[in-house]
């Protein structure tokens, strides 16, 4: 029998679950666990400079690898600082386990020092949470947490561990090969066979089908199956923001991103289709625009692992609940069994779509003396040959990245889509770089977003995490300013960021390198130079046009096809 104390059990359980990288911040109620981590040969812990950063790093690690990200923080402010980051992972269904210290069970409810109701505060933004009441609970709860986080619709799980449960003097049994059973938690994997057969028949009969897919394809490792189905039926394919990288960006059947800032062809194709095949999307308002005007002539096949996502925002004519990889496999098998071919009229549909494409809706005007933000993404795309892992923050630069960097392999694109968390991009890039030290990891950020978590520059110095940070620096909160410019009579209320720090000096202060560029003619050269500095974290401060705007843009309250293509039409 293996007897261990609570703190040892935490570390041993994590090790046995295969954890190699952790991110966190110590404090009074996790000091015993940190003392045990000090002994671990398997787990490398990264000390962040803020708990939010730590959890975003674990999130970035999870998104880049598909493994469960793991973070550990202390009670009270340590736990509350993680809330935004946990909500970010929840918004995008990312598998994460966050271990929080808690005051001793005898003190819970007494308003003790650094006590908060962590389980209560995080409850609306976690998939599930556990409060360990005794040392015996720790192993089973952590194992359950990993299982819940990584199955079904994935998501963050919090395990709250009171200090006395970690007491080095109290030994309890560590159970090797402990089998966890949960009678109340059994996610559906396979789709209903009859529904699968009906679905492929509908697809083969459709004259104007469109396939739309979301982040579930990336998180569910379903890209090869999706590609097979799409190619077999010659389906036009569009992606939500979270789906990007799940279907090759350079594939001729790819129409680009859908929704608020999606391409003209993607939104028009959706609006004019007679069949929408939706794989692991949840039809958020940034995709559907006005849900009442959603695809008026289309039937909807909706595949999702979460039954609650089906017919939540738009009515599904043919729902299939199941893991999207398993269901896509079933769909492909059903196609072969029934020997189904695409409707011959698909060619006419492609002709129509090509007229939409001819609008060239992402075209933008270049300038002699100002760098356009789109150019930066294009330059980095070219210089990295489309192979980098790219993270973003939130705002204009995020949309430009989604529009201009063509992601060909899954997990290449890491962004906060659901919650839209500014400050996510840089720590998430750190997590991705920790997972893939040999790959180029690029963070596109804005001068606003970057300042929300730039303290992690220290972490990067300490653990040698040489990510490349491209600040699309327009000295303003670009997306809000865009709305103020278009819809609020150019009243730029509180969006001015003239008083930014000197980002070159900032990099220097943290012991990193920096480059600055404002001349369009020098952009490519500076990008190359930054990328060639393999061993350095480089901040590239790119001064871009303040008035650049993200187009196309859907009209508020309209259908998906109600789009503003250029500023004059706004």
């Amino acid at each position: 029998m293996v007897m261990l104390n609570g703190a040892q059990i935490v570390v041993r359980t994590l090790e046995d679950l295969g954890v190699t990288q952790m991110f966190g911040y110590p404090g009074a109620t996790v000091i015993d666990i940190y003392d045990e981590l000090y002994n671990s040969k398997q787990i490398v812990h990264h000390l962040a400079r803020h708990e939010q950063g730590a959890v975003h790093m674990a999130d970035g690690f999870a998104r880049a690898t598909g493994k469960v990200g793991c973070a550990i923080v202390t009670s009270g402010p340590g736990a509350t600082n993680t809330v935004t980051a946990i909500a970010t992972a929840y918004g995008d269904s990312i598998p994460l386990v966050v271990i929080t210290g808690q005051v001793a069970t005898s003190l819970i409810g007494s308003d003790a020092f650094q006590e908060v109701d962590t389980v209560g505060i995080t409850r609306p933004v976690v998939k599930h949470s556990f409060l360990c009441k005794k040392p015996e609970d720790i192993q089973v709860n952590i194992q359950k947490a990993f299982y819940i986080a990584s199955t079904g619709r994935k998501g963050p799980v919090v395990v709250d561990i009171p200090k006395n449960c970690q007491n080095p003097q109290v030994l309890v049994e560590y159970k090797e090969n402990l089998d966890i059973k949960m009678r109340s938690y059994n996610p559906t994997v396979f789709g209903h066979k009859g529904q699968v057969r009906r679905a492929v028949k509908l697809i083969s009969e459709a004259k104007k089908p469109v396939l739309i897919y979301g982040g579930g394809v990336v998180q569910g490792e379903a890209a090869p199956e999706l590609l097979k189905l799409a190619h077999h039926f010659k389906l036009p394919v569009t992606s939500t923001l979270m789906g990007l990288s799940g279907f090759p960006g350079t594939d001729p059947q790819n129409l680009g991103m859908v929704g608020m800032h999606g391409t003209y062809e993607a939104n028009e194709a959706m609006h004019n289709s007679d069949l929408v095949v939706a794989i692991a999307v949840r039809f958020d308002d940034r995709v559907t625009n006005n849900a009442k005007k959603f695809c008026p002539n289309a039937k909807l096949i909706h595949v999702d692992v979460d039954p609650a996502s089906i017919s939540k925002c738009v009515h599904a004519d043919l729902p299939i609940v199941g893991d999207c990889k398993a269901v896509l496999k079933q769909l492909n098998e059903a196609v072969e069994e029934a020997n189904l071919e695409p409707n011959p009229q698909i060619d006419a549909w492609w002709d129509e779509i090509n007229t939409y494409r001819a609008k060239n809706s992402l075209a933008y005007q270049k300038s002699q003396d100002k760098i356009m933000p789109q150019q930066v993404i294009e330059a980095v795309y070219k210089a990295t040959q489309g192979q980098a892992i790219v993270t973003t923050d939130v705002g204009q630069h995020q949309m430009f990245t989604a529009q201009f960097y063509k992601f060909d392999t899954p997990r290449q694109f890491i962004t906060s889509g659901g919650l839209g968390t500014m400050g996510f991009g840089f720590p998430a890039a750190c997590g991705a770089k920790v997972a893939f030290p040999d790959r180029d990891v690029i963070c596109f950020t804005g001068d606003g977003s970057f300042q929300m978590n730039m303290q992690e520059l220290s972490t990067c110095k300490q653990y040698h995490i040489p990510v490349k940070i491209f600040i699309l620096d327009n000295h303003t909160l670009g997306m809000v300013r865009q709305w103020q410019s278009l819809f609020y009579h150019q009243r730029y209320s509180q969006t001015d960021l003239t008083f930014n720090p000197d980002f070159e000096k900032l990099a220097d202060a943290f012991g990193h390198k920096a480059l600055k560029v404002s001349d369009p003619a020098k952009l490519d050269e500076v990008v190359q130079q930054a990328l060639s500095m393999k061993d350095d974290l480089v901040i590239v401060d790119v001064l871009v046009d303040t008035d650049a705007k993200v187009f196309p843009m859907q009209k508020v309250g309209g259908s998906m096809a109600d789009m503003i293509l250029k500023e004059e039409d706004a």
Binding site: V119, P124, L131, M182, S184, A308
Partner: protein, 166 residues
Amino acid sequence: MRHVISILIENEAGALSRVVGLFSQRGYNIESLTVAPTEDRTLSRCTILTLGDKEEAEQITKQLHKLVDVLRVSDLYGEGGGFERELVLMKMPTPNRNIRDEIRSICEIFHARIIDVTQDTYTIEYAGSSDEVDNFIKTLNEVTDILETVRSGVLGILKGTHYMKK
């Protein structure tokens, strides 16, 4: 529309707060809620009365089902109907014989029980459907002002051979 939603849930600390939290965070209302352990003490049975259209009720049941602690969810009216009962405990003042007589005869008509008698009060117990309980309270209130009313909220069970499996 009224929906009576039955939930079988792990009898664990915090499980109920997840159920209640779901209603508040998604903007659904709770008209009544009852919860107690079942014959299997590791499980609790919870009945929630809520108002909403068909789509809303469907979304509520799906979201409840998603909670990790929840074993089973069913909407009483989504599954061929069921029985609803509410228990009410009331305290009535009994200042004179007339009022005492009237209360006793009303209780007789409704098959309600007077479970405690003092010089000045009757304590009454009555169970029935929500409508019947409403009606009982209204009738007694016409006799004299009620001192106190305690309603249990709705309990529901499926009709016929249907039952909620564990």
